[in-house]
């Protein structure tokens, strides 16, 4: 039995998505910019997907620009807005310290080009306090980028309140909703955001398709230049089959959001209780009361997460040590560090993330296997340093 508990890295495709992508790959091969029948078919498929996605996030189809995924959407939002706003004299960007690398490294790149950047701290539960944003906002703040839900610990940020503060100082608010869409309701109007990034493969859609929602009237310069695709906002022939898959995934997510969230939350909570009760020296990272329903980040005292991850994989259980994008680095999780956790604890933490195909039997399996593996690894770390085996 293989257990996949790494839905925050990527999700398996829903069967309806697989069929739709296959069908579109076969039948809708036209270039959506072409005048003829084949082009029209492709354009119609894009329009359908755009409408499905707009319905899910309560936006307007004309506000949606398809991208290659969440990272490109984040880049487009921040670079595109920064470049459009620069002539007004605003040269300051704000993000939280727990953003995804797609946001953090984009800010760093702009900092090298003369932008001032401020990273907001989070409290020990992984939430950005609105007061910290209030203090950081300046007259020349162009854009504030705060993720809706965190990828490593799942905490949900108070976007609506943060957006109000940003707007009061004339700044835009961008939110990376890659990890919230499909897990909790995402309503762009209620959030009050100006820009919102999303990615299909995090909610049972295909990889290589994402979108940036751009509130009507928001000025943005294109970061990918070329032809007049996507209303001149993102050049490049659209990946029609993947975008069709995104549309189907959006429809599925919208259809069963409430029931599915409750089901996954029950599994996650049972997993969490099973681990906390079955393995001594464990603790949950991040605000338990304000998390997406599928994510649990747990510290295992006196165990190197890297070793536990491998031991679990050899038992057929797939989890992660945080962001899949930062695996292979020695750097402790920047999210857990920003929460003020000790270096030791940041290297002891595993992320379990569940989803559409997760079952009770899988939870049982993990709860059964973990105590033995942890005990074995702890036995190892208790040997004196330098002892030969």
């Amino acid at each position: 039995m293989r257990v996949y508990f790494d839905y925050n890295a990527t999700t398996p495709l829903a069967s309806e998505v697989i069929e739709a992508v296959a069908r579109a790959s076969r039948d809708t091969f036209g270039n959506a910019s072409s005048v003829h029948h084949f082009g029209q078919q492709a354009k119609a498929a894009l329009d359908d997907a755009r409408s499905e996605l707009a319905a899910l996030i309560h936006g307007d189809p004309s506000e949606i620009v398809f991208t290659s995924g969440g990272t490109e959407a984040d880049n487009m939002a921040i670079r595109g807005a920064a470049e459009a706003i620069e002539p007004t004299g605003r040269r300051h960007l704000i993000a939280s310290a727990i953003e995804h690398e797609a946001v953090l490294n984009t800010l760093k790149a702009l900092a090298r080009r003369g932008w001032r950047t401020t990273l907001l701290p989070v409290d020990d539960s992984g939430i950005v306090a609105p007061d910290r944003l209030r203090e950081a906002l300046a007259d020349d703040t162009a854009l504030v980028s705060i993720m809706h839900a965190n990828n490593e610990i799942g905490t949900i940020q108070p976007i609506a309140e943060l957006a109000q503060l940003a707007h009061a100082r004339g700044a835009l608010l961008h939110t990376d909703a890659v990890q919230s869409l499909g897990k909790i309701p995402v309503d762009v109007r209620a959030l009050g955001a100006d820009l919102l990034s999303l990615s299909a493969h995090k909610f049972n859609g295909p990889k290589g398709a994402g979108a940036l929602w751009i509130k009507r009237g928001t000025r943005l310069l294109p970061t990918v230049t070329g032809g007049k695709h996507e209303r001149n906002r993102r050049a490049g022939t659209e990946n029609v089959p993947a975008i069709v898959g995104l549309g189907v995934a959006a429809r599925l997510a919208g259809g069963k959001l409430g029931a599915e969230a409750a089901r996954v939350a029950a599994l996650r909570d049972r997993l969490e209780e099973g681990i906390l009760g079955g393995v001594p020296g464990t603790a949950v990272n991040g605000a338990r009361g304000s998390r997406v329903p599928n994510t649990s980040n747990i510290s295992f005292d006196r165990v190197e997460a890297e070793s536990l991850l491998i031991a679990l994989d050899l038992e057929g259980i797939a989890v992660s040590t945080g962001s899949a994008c930062s695996s292979g680095t020695l750097e402790p999780s920047h999210v857990l560090r920003a929460m003020g956790l000790s270096t030791h604890r940041t290297q002891n933490s595993l992320r379990f993330s569940l989803g559409m195909f997760s079952t009770d039997a899988e939870v049982d399996r993990v709860v059964e296997v973990l105590p033995r593996l942890v005990e074995k690894l702890r036995g190892l770390t208790q040997k004196p340093v330098g002892a030969r085996g």
């Binding site: 994989d313 050899l314 190892l380 040997k383 330098g386």
Partner: protein, 357 residues
């Protein structure tokens, strides 16, 4: 799995024999540095190659981050040795203190019963009858391919470490290893052998030591065997006993080439002289690891004092716990502190230690 042909074939052979194989690679230095100087760093390519081989032979593969341990157990020793006027042997430290220690423990925690590497060496398990006062249970032997033998770098393995060590390519010639890699279509079949110190891809060990320990670059003097100053240099760490090239000295008045005879870090002196003065008959070894019972009487052995040295007949005396004195039958050139002295009986490693003087 380093991504080289030897460890790749080792893994492929074991998998083909039906063993349950887990591929492990060690990440030993910061990958981010490699990104900024793309193409100059072998490690990322190596890890990628290891991953491709693991996929080709259908085994799980993991990269373990040992940057801290490698720095503490191998790199700092390497730097300290040069600063102390010695010539380090980092591969032997890596084998004994990291691969067959930290890595082996980690593998054990994943349920592994043994650790296999691509070394050209052999381990044999003696039967109860064969275990005698002369040989203990596990025997370490030279690789079958004498030109590739790496037993010299493995002398510090204890019986407990040898009990879990497997060297699948040790009983094959290198040509056969490459042929097997081609036969199995391993993506590294034609990769060149690695020759250099893996953590110094530009081969500039002097620059590496100076970067790690900026205050080592200090002016000093070349002196001859009688103490007369014959020139100036930029730090004793830049020299190795037996070195002739790169001294920046004109040869002696008689025209004989000058060699480094000794390094005196305390005085910042490099002693130079003619080749004949490099000849020595005895050496002292420390941290001696005996793979046989510690001999109570002097024994005869062939003793190898560096990787490319032909083991020479000698008498070895265990003088105190962990100490040994080696007396060669004929004088040897350039006995170098920091290198290993490994004692052989034919192909069998009897023991070895670190050359102190």
């Amino acid at each position: 799995m380093s991504g080289g042909v030897d460890s790749s074939v080792a893994a492929a052979l074991l998998a083909e024999q039906g063993h349950d194989v887990i591929g492990l690679s060690m990440q030993l230095y910061d990958q981010a540095e490699g990104q900024s100087s793309f193409g100059s760093c072998c490690s990322i390519d190596g890890l990628n190659d290891a991953r491709r081989v693991a996929a080709a032979i259908n085994i799980p593969h993991y990269v373990l981050n040992f940057e801290r341990q490698f720095q503490e157990q191998v790199v700092s020793n390497f730097v300290n040795e040069y600063v102390a006027g010695r010539t380090p042997l980092p591969c032997a430290h890596c084998n004994g203190d990291l691969k067959f220690a930290t890595l082996a423990e980690r593998a054990e925690s994943f349920g592994a019963e043994a650790v296999a590497t691509g070394h050209y060496a052999r381990v044999e398990l003696l039967s109860e009858d064969e275990v005698s006062s002369k040989a203990r249970r596990y025997v370490l032997k030279r690789g079958l391919d004498a030109s590739k033998d790496q037993s010299y770098f493995l002398f510090s393995l204890t019986q407990a470490q040898l009990a879990r060590a497997v060297f699948p390519v040790g009983d094959r010639p290198k040509t056969a290893v490459r042929a097997y890699a081609r036969l199995r279509n391993l993506p590294v079949a034609d990769k060149p052998d690695s020759q250099e110190i893996c953590f110094i891809p530009d081969h500039d060990y002097r620059g590496f030591v100076e970067k790690q320990r900026p205050n080592t670059r200090r002016a000093g003097q070349f002196v001859d065997e009688h103490g007369a100053v014959v020139g100036a240099h930029e730090g004793v760490h830049r020299f190795t006993i037996g070195q002739r090239r790169g001294l920046g000295l004109s040869s002696s008045p008689s025209g004989t080439p000058m060699y480094v005879l000794a390094l005196r870090p305390a005085e910042q002196q490099v002693v130079v002289g003619p080749k004949s003065s490099l000849e020595r008959t005895t050496l002292q070894a420390s941290a001696v690891n005996w793979l046989i019972d510690t001999p109570t009487v002097p024994i005869r052995a062939a003793v190898q004092i560096r990787h490319r040295h032909e083991a020479a007949p000698a008498t070895v005396r265990a003088t105190a716990p962990g100490q040994a004195t080696v007396t060669f039958d004929t004088p040897q050139i350039a006995i170098t502190p920091g290198q290993a002295a490994v004692f052989y009986d034919g192909e069998i490693v009897l023991g070895g230690g670190w050359i102190e003087s």
